[in-house]
Amino acid sequence: MVSLNHFLILSGVLFSIGTAGVFLRRNLITVLLSIEVMLNAVNLTFVAVGRYLGTVDGQIITFFVMTVAAAEAAIGLALVITLFRHRETLNPDAYTALKW
């Protein structure tokens, strides 16, 4: 029997992997991918809890999140392309102008 806890643990693991990806990878596109992983970890939690409670709220919210994620991916990739044109690199550590 697969219980709610299994889903939550899987979701937690996915979220941690995503977070680690955001902080550790040195490629902006991979960072964006990692963010997608984090979002989907959350989606999984919503769906699992919705199923557990017998409501559809979790699924509805998941649709919203997917929409937002699609928009985010579009804007994020556009930004990455613009940045690359500017600096010829995708290493996030190269972009340090955001201060003072």
Partner: protein, 737 residues
């Protein structure tokens, strides 16, 4: 108290000069001289007319005083002060002196200041009117705060008028000195006023007198003694007594009519008047009275000795004023209030006369003030000479003239008073009167007799030229009257007449030898006040002919009610504050005069008459001796004076240096204060504490921001991490705590 009309008229007395001030201050620079001078004279003359009418109905009517409350000024808790004017016998006399002599001096000024440019002329007259308004408020005030308004106001006007030629450095400095020294006294006055309020719960003169009369006189230091001593400190400032007299001689930097009006006839008597106003209070503080008498006689003697050797005609008169004020305080101190006020009144005539006369001399000699450059003016200035001579005779105390009656009254009252050391004081007073006669006639002989001399060392020209150049270069300062001298006005910082000399002669010689031409007699606008004052100096004394000479001493009877407490029950008053004559008897023969012993009192009265006649003969003799002494040294045998000065060179130098009091004050107060201000307050507190505090805050902020900005790395990853940690922390807080 009585008819409504008179009560409402009181306000007009100070209001008219105030109006004149307003017109001249705001529109004066556009008015021609005749108009601005005319307005000022009309204002003060109108005030004189109203005063005379009010005093007339006061004397004719049965009311003891008129009172007018213009508005309620301050109400707070127990304090209820109205802007109240009160005309009683004492203030009546003062009002007449202020407006009467003030009018004459206004008229005189139209001639004396006629060489000023229009705007300066209007500024001068606006100040003069403002002064009269404040002085009248001072005199008419029915309570301490109203008097204080006038008290401060005349101080301000004194400052403005001493520094009238403010482009001249010494005049500006003298103005500041007068103001600052007066402030020291004013501080005492304020403290005394507050102490009186906390003690008696009122600031009305009448109520304070009644409350004080209900108390027993203080044998030791008590609250009344302290309050009166503080008030007396105020009086020493305003009336130029030791220790605060130093400003008055310097005040001679102002125009001469100002010296006559403010620094001789009226303002400087404010302290004497204030003590007279609070006679009942002072009467209950014998220690203060002794101090007043001691300070008065010491000042009289000291100023008299200084006056003996000074070479500036106005300074001699200034020290003479200080000396005569000392006499008035002596009278106040021995409880002879009427005699003190009487001397104030006669002194106003002859001192104003002497100052205006010296002004005419200075005017005639184109700004020359040094006695060593005068002489032989008798034939050129007959009117000035004769009026000046009358003034000098009056102040010297020659029998028959005003000063004789009042000065003898003071000396007599001192002689028979019960104040400790009264015989010593009397002796010093008599010595001073010898000095008075001597230095006054030294002045007369040196100025008017003999031949014209040019003995004075040449003044330091380079410095003065520099100052003149400077004055012309800046040429922009705007006086409070809104006066901007046009660039063409040459040397606006000099005495008016000097300007002509400057225009005629080479720059560098204008001042020292300005009067080579024939001295010219004063114009009529100046001569008439001289003549009127001379007549006053002869006859003013006859309102106070003492009993001993067959008179009835009307002035004393007239003034007496003002020195007693009225509001208290009659029995209490007479027990606590006997009228001056009775008290004097009680004091001098306390051991054998019993209540009800009328025969004793009558005998004593005869004895007093004999004493008084003897004293009179003595002081008349002394006055004549003083004149004779002056005649010997400065008319007959001038070499003897020089020989004497050479023989007692240290003494002469000390007197010439005015006992070095200015230098002592400078060393004792001014320099330490300067050092404290520069080293302590400026470099220590201001630069050290305040500035470094402000700068320190700035440095701390910029330093800590230098540290904080290191958090802003610009690295995306760091920002994301801090965001993440923040979310974790917040969630963790809500979930687990």
């Amino acid at each position: 108290m009585v008819t409504g009309t008179i009560d409402e008229m009181l306000l007009l007395i100070p209001l008219l000069p105030l109006l004149g001030f307003g017109i001249n201050a705001f529109f004066g620079r556009r008015l021609p001289k005749a108009v601005s001078g005319g307005i000022a004279c009309l204002a003060i003359l109108g005030s004189f007319a109203v005063s005379a009418a009010a005093v007339w109905s006061l004397v004719a009517g049965s009311a003891g005083a008129f009172e007018q409350t213009v508005f309620t000024w301050m109400t707070s808790g127990d304090l209820d002060v109205g802007f109240t004017l009160r005309l009683d016998h004492l203030s009546a006399l003062m009002v007449l002196v202020v407006t009467g002599i003030g009018s004459l001096i206004h008229i005189y000024s139209t001639g004396y200041m006629s060489e000023e440019v229009d705007s300066e002329y209007a500024r001068y007259f606006s100040y003069l009117n403002l002064f009269a308004a404040f002085m009248l408020v001072l005199v008419l005030g029915a309570n301490f705060p109203v008097m204080f308004v006038g008290w401060e106001g005349v101080g301000l006007c004194s400052y403005l008028l001493i520094g009238f030629w403010f482009k001249k450095r010494s005049a500006a400095d003298a103005g500041k000195k007068a103001f600052i020294v007066n402030r020291i006294g004013d501080f005492g006055f304020i403290l005394g006023m507050l102490l009186i309020f906390t003690t008696f719960g009122t600031l009305e003169f009448q109520a304070v007198a009644a409350a004080a009369a209900a108390r027993a006189p203080e044998a030791a230091m008590g609250v009344m003694t302290i309050a009166t001593l503080l008030l007396f400190l105020g009086a020493t400032g305003k009336s130029a007594q030791i220790p605060l007299y130093v400003w008055l001689p310097d005040a001679m930097e102002g125009p001469t009519p100002v010296s006559a009006l403010i620094h001789a006839a009226t303002m400087v008597t404010a302290g004497v008047y204030m003590i007279g106003r609070n006679a009942v209070l002072f009467e209950h503080a014998p220690i203060t009275l002794a101090v007043v008498a001691g300070v008065g006689v010491a000042t009289a003697l000291m100023a008299g000795t200084i006056g003996l050797v000074q070479n500036d005609i106005k300074r001699v008169l200034a020290y003479s004023t200080v000396s005569q004020l000392g006499y008035m305080f002596l009278a106040m101190g021995v409880g002879a209030y009427a005699a003190g006020i009487f001397h104030l009144y006669t002194h106003a005539f002859f001192k104003a006369l002497l100052f205006l006369g010296s002004g005419a001399v200075i005017h005639a000699l184109a700004g020359e003030q040094d006695l060593r450059n005068m002489g032989g003016l008798k034939k050129h200035l007959p009117i000035t000479y004769w009026t000046f001579l009358i003034g000098a005779l009056a102040i010297a105390g020659v029998p028959g003239l005003a000063g004789f009656f009042s000065k003898d009254e003071i000396l007599f009252k001192t002689f028979i008073s019960g104040t400790p050391g009264h015989l010593l004081m009397w002796g010093l007073g008599v010595t001073t009167s010898l000095l008075t006669a001597t230095y006054m006639f030294r002045l007369v002989f040196l100025t008017f007799h003999g031949e014209r001399r040019h003995d004075a060392p040449a003044p330091a020209h380079p410095e003065e030229e520099e100052a003149a150049a400077h004055a012309q270069a800046i040429d922009a300062p705007v006086g409070p009257g809104g006066a901007v001298p046009p660039p063409s006005a040459p040397h606006a910082h000099h005495a008016p007449a000097v300007r002509q000399a400057h225009a005629d002669e080479d720059h560098g010689h204008g001042h020292g030898h300005g009067g080579h031409g024939t001295p010219h007699e004063a114009p009529w606008s100046m001569a008439i006040p001289l003549i009127v004052l001379a007549i006053g100096s002869i006859f003013a004394g006859y309102i106070g002919v003492p009993h001993a000479l067959g008179g009835s001493n009307r002035i004393e009877t007239f003034l007496e009610p003002a020195f007693e407490a009225h509001a208290s029950p009659a029995g209490e008053t007479s027990a606590a504050a006997p009228p001056p004559m009775a008290r004097v008897l009680l004091a001098s023969q306390a051991h054998d005069v019993q209540p009800g012993a009328d025969t004793h009192a009558a005998d004593d009265h005869h004895a007093d008459t004999r004493t008084e006649l003897m004293l009179m003969a003595l002081s008349s003799g002394i006055a004549l001796a003083g004149i004779g002494l002056a005649a010997y040294f400065w008319l007959r045998n001038r070499a003897a004076a020089g020989a004497l000065a050479a023989r007692f060179r240290p003494v002469h130098q000390m007197l010439l240096g005015k006992y070095y009091v200015d230098e002592a004050y400078d060393a004792a107060f001014v320099q330490p204060l300067k050092a404290l201000s520069a080293g302590g307050l400026w470099k220590g507190v201001d630069a050290g504490v305040i500035d470094s505090g402000v700068n320190g805050v700035g440095l701390a902020v910029s330093g800590s921001s230098g540290l904080l900005r290191r958090m802003q790395t610009g690295s995306l990853r760091t920002y994301a991490l801090s965001l993440f940690l923040g979310v974790v922390a917040i969630l963790g807080y809500y979930l687990f705590l």
